[in-house]
Symmetry: C2
Subunit: 254 residues, 2 copies
DNA sequence: CCAAAAGTGTTCTTTATACACCCATGT
DNA sequence: ACATGGGTGTATAAAGAACACTTTTGG
């Protein structure tokens, strides 16, 4: 007997794969595990695995992520499915791709460990992944999908901050925007968009309230031991954000 | 013997469901089929069904759509998954939701017919669906997801035109935007955004080229037998669109 | 003539873009 | 002092919002 579960019609296996993006202060990287077993033994793959019958897809993704990497407590968002007929040499497998975000501190955590199915784990620059690093299965496509989902949500939701520690500099924030949107921004204008333009602020006091305010708040703290003028640390101000959204949509893009 | 397909671990059944949005010139509606069989016999459900082992999810969605409604040749986009454990009373079923768009002419087509599993089909106003019409399974959630995917893509891609016939009036286009984004627009400003501002056009001739041009082209034809000034028919100009996108992103929103 | 909806113009506010300038730190 | 990067100011262009005006049809 082949197995214990019988069905009238053939069913594909269903898996989830997690694309974990991490920002190390300079680059956006993706977390991979080196496969311990065939197929694609020794190749880099996304953490993920088979859905159990009593869980939802998101629960599956969360569980597999913990099992294979130890990562817990981050929000996972769905980005799409992979269903090419020949995508897994073993059997017919359909996979749902989730993505999650980690800050510099999160990336450094000692809690990240390669699980049972994995020999080790590795962070790879997302740009290297997208320009052809060889991965197991169709996981390059998965990263491409997740990266697009992430970029798309950047202008609608405050997702960039999930890639940052609670305190961060404007420079770091700008770096994330530049990587995800694949373009550069004027330093001065980016600053004003995010923290608010002091010039407009003065006008605000005179007239009734206009628009323009940023969504970052100065913490008062600054970077230490820099070779130049120290950068201020900011925090994302949820209250300001909600207030602005009530008046009208705040556009995070340009 | 229960069935002929045996697996070591239990597998959920995998289905696709299609949310077909149609614009009738005034409202955006969603296509449902009345179920011929249990469960949810007699209730309204989205067209869809079980994935076959040798096809991709998108192929499955296309096939099921033809089988159950006769609709063919429209683009389907993925919007998300449904995987609650109790979502189907028969067995564990995970479903992938696709959505497609139909123009007024498409909606009226004689080719739309209820398939074998369906007693009949019915178009229902999307607002009624979202405000609580009772549907089979968790299909209300499916419509909600699809509607959000559609709204989100509206500002990035020229999807609104897939809800319109080749020729259409600005009024119709504006109606679609208003329904999908759940807000109103100033008639005059909407017009200028889409066809281009004649005032700016004059300036363009003088100075070097600035920005601002619309993506619609006047066909020269007008509506007949109106009780007022006849509206012009326009077409979406792919060439203009591509040209604008090369300079920089054209924002379809406001 | 009037009503109704289409289309154009005009003005003002808000954003976007470019770039010049000043500031604080380590060497 | 100066190199380096952080932060502010200012001017211009483009886009958004509000609303008045004009045009074309049917009655």
């Amino acid at each position: 007997m082949e197995g214990s579960y019988n069905y009238k019609y053939p069913r594909p296996a269903l898996t989830t794969d997690c694309v974990i993006f991490g920002f190390d202060g300079d680059k956006v990287k993706v977390l991979f595990v080196k496969r311990r077993d065939e197929p694609f033994k020794g190749k880099l793959a996304l953490p993920g695995g088979f859905m159990e019958i009593g869980e939802t897809l998101e629960e599956c993704a969360k569980r597999e992520l913990v099992e294979e990497t130890g990562i817990e407590g981050i929000k996972l968002r769905e980005s799409g499915t992979l269903s090419d007929v020949e995508r897994d040499p073993r059997t017919r497998v359909v996979s749902v791709v989730y993505y999650g975000l980690m800050s510099p501190n999160g990336m450094m955590s000692e809690d990240i460990v390669a699980g049972s199915d994995a020999e080790s784990f590795k962070w790879i620059d997302v740009n290297d992944v997208l320009s052809g690093t060889k991965l197991a299965f169709d996981h390059e496509k998965a990263v491409r999908m997740a990266f697009k989902s992430l970029s798309d949500s950047l202008n609608r939701e405050p997702v960039a901050f999930e890639l940052l520690d609670e305190r961060f500099t404007i420079k770091q924030l700008q770096r994330i925007y530049e990587i995800l949107l694949d373009r550069t921004f004027d330093r001065a204008n980016f600053h004003k968009k995010m923290v608010g333009d002091p010039a407009s602020a003065k006008k605000l006091k005179k007239n009734g309230r206009k628009k323009n305010t940023g969504i970052l708040t100065d913490t008062g703290e600054v970077m230490k031991e820099t070779k130049h003028k120290p950068a201020k640390y900011y925090v994302f101000d949820w209250q300001k954000y909600k207030d602005l959204m009530e008046i009208e949509d705040f556009n995070f893009g340009f």
